[in-house]
Assembly symmetry: C2
Homo-oligomer: 108 residues x 2
């Protein structure tokens, strides 16, 4: 995978895939973690501590990437993910804050 393949451009980001991606609580947790990190932070996909198999984890990150919520960078021996904060804020202002608020409320 090259770094920019199958990342939708900002114009290609649409509501349906974003909502479908965020309909899952594991995926919302990934997004919330990235929102709370400093802008531009890259996190290894295995570092989020999702309680799922590797195949399921791959699926979750693909949903997020294809929706345009995250980008992924391939470092050869590992892949890291970053939040497309400016793109999502531009398209759906407030959405990322709702995700964080829900995750924070759930974790007490």
């Amino acid at each position: 995978m090259s770094n920019e393949d199958d990342h939708p451009s900002r114009e290609e980001i649409t509501l349906g895939p974003v909502l479908a991606a965020l309909a899952d609580p594991h995926r919302r947790r990934v997004v919330a973690t990235l929102v709370l990190a400093p802008d531009g932070t890259e996190i290894g996909c295995s570092s989020f501590g999702l309680p799922v198999t590797k195949a399921t984890r791959t699926y979750h990150f693909r949903m997020l990437r294809e929706a345009g919520l995250i980008g992924m960078v391939d470092y050869g021996n590992c892949r890291k993910t970053y939040l497309r904060r400016a793109d999502i804020e531009a398209k759906f202002p407030g959405l990322l804050a709702w995700v964080v608020a829900e995750v924070e409320a759930a974790s007490g």
Copy 2:
């Protein structure tokens, strides 16, 4: 079913069920139709023209109701649905407009 049973209060409306309800394009179409109707409009569930079986339609409306997006009124021989516009706008301002914009873009 009484009119107010299993309708979450505004405080009980949370992001997860709302996103899950809106992850489906048929359900977004129902919501968009209600958003575009005058405030307080009640529409019979069979009047939305969803291309699905009655059982599936019932499921879609249950997802929307339990998420707090719509309310339902039982008139004995028919059920009508209305948008919980003020509740959703208060919790997630802008969300309903995104749904309408997407449905309108898709329909030409």
